[in-house]
């Protein structure tokens, strides 16, 4: 069998993207549910959704940066 080549940091980035992927799904899904249930509170829900995405996304982005500096 051929020797597997490549950077193991790539796998690390892939693993780092799993959690935030699930997390952003949950955040956006629940934000959409909140907006659909209470359209008058959509502005607040949207702002909070962006905040939640930003916090969750940070983990994937740290993985992305580590891929470069590893």
């Amino acid at each position: 069998m051929e020797e597997i080549k490549g950077a193991i940091a790539l796998i690390g980035y892939g693993l780092a993207a799993i959690g935030p992927g699930i997390g952003i799904g949950i955040v956006v899904g629940n934000a959409i549910q909140a907006m659909a249930r209470q359209p008058e509170a959509a502005t607040v829900a949207r702002t909070t959704m962006f905040l939640g995405i930003a916090f969750t996304e940070a983990l994937a982005l740290i993985g992305f940066v580590l891929f470069f500096i590893a």
Partner: protein, 269 residues
């Protein structure tokens, strides 16, 4: 990235790190120098972004009118968005005190991000680690300073010895809170902006560049140059997506700065 990957031996290595990665974190040779000051491409773009922001604000509000022109309407809506929605909406009534800082931050990051999509510049200012790091250090100094000046030492004790948590767990929650307040907040604030823009820049370079590479080598490979077409189309799709990302990241940076300041102004909440 494409130019860099030409340097590596594709027969041996599938993936090779681009040789210019260091450039993301360190500064490279200057275009020109005045005395001890080196002017790199990034520094020139910082000044360009500064002049664009200051000039836009100056021309929009030089002669305030009751009914502003088209440009005035755009700038006024941006200013009122940052002041009313971000500053007052997040921090509360005293948020208008921080509105000038947040507005300067928002416009500078917005212009810096949009350099990514500007033809002939094609370089996001915020994709050099020094710049988002410096911006987040400003936010850090402001929210720590505001926390201490508004609440004195009880700001620090409120973080490392939270009263709302059972006594046995206070040291653990306090430790986590301390690390998250004073270490993770500025780092993630900077890394979020930096990594988003680097990722977008890389995607655009890869897709549009590889499309161009195929088209340019039409003499050598003949009709197979059409492979470049889907790459190019996908690149244009990402181009539109990157516009959204550029605006959204400027907004998120400003919003998070406001949220961090808010937690220092009203630490109980």
């Amino acid at each position: 990235m494409i130019l860099a990957s030409e340097e590596c031996d594709t027969a041996k290595e599938i993936i090779c790190a681009p040789s210019n990665v260091v450039e993301l974190f360190e500064y490279k040779d200057a275009v020109f120098s005045i005395g001890p000051l080196d002017f790199t491409r990034t520094v020139i773009l910082i000044f360009l972004a500064m002049f664009i922001v200051v000039g836009a604000l100056y021309f929009a509000f030089r002669k305030p009118k009751i009914v502003p022109g088209k440009f005035g309407v755009v700038m006024e809506s941006l200013v009122s968005f940052v002041r009313e929605d971000v500053a007052k909406g997040t921090i509360g009534p005293e948020g208008s005190k921080y509105a000038p800082y947040l507005l300067a931050m928002f416009l500078f990051i917005l212009v810096g991000n949009l350099f990514e999509l500007t033809p002939f510049i094609n370089f996001p200012l915020t994709s050099r680690m020094a710049i988002p790091l410096m911006l987040s250090v400003f936010t850090y100094l402001i929210f720590v300073g505001v926390g201490f000046s508004k609440n004195g030492m009880s700001y620090l004790w409120g973080i490392i010895w939270p009263k709302s948590v059972p006594v046995g767990l206070r040291w653990l929650v306090g430790l986590i809170e301390f690390v998250s307040y004073f270490l993770l907040r500025p780092i993630t604030l900077a890394v979020r902006l930096f990594a988003n823009l680097v990722a977008g820049h890389l995607m655009l370079t890869l897709l549009l560049g590889s499309g161009w590479l195929f088209f340019a080598s039409v003499g050598d490979i003949g009709p197979r140059a059409l492979i470049g077409l889907p790459w190019f189309a996908f690149g244009l799709l990402i181009f539109v997506f990157e516009f959204v990302v550029a605006v959204l990241q400027a907004y998120i940076f400003t919003l998070l700065s406001a949220v961090y300041i808010q937690t220092s102004v009203h630490p109980e909440h």
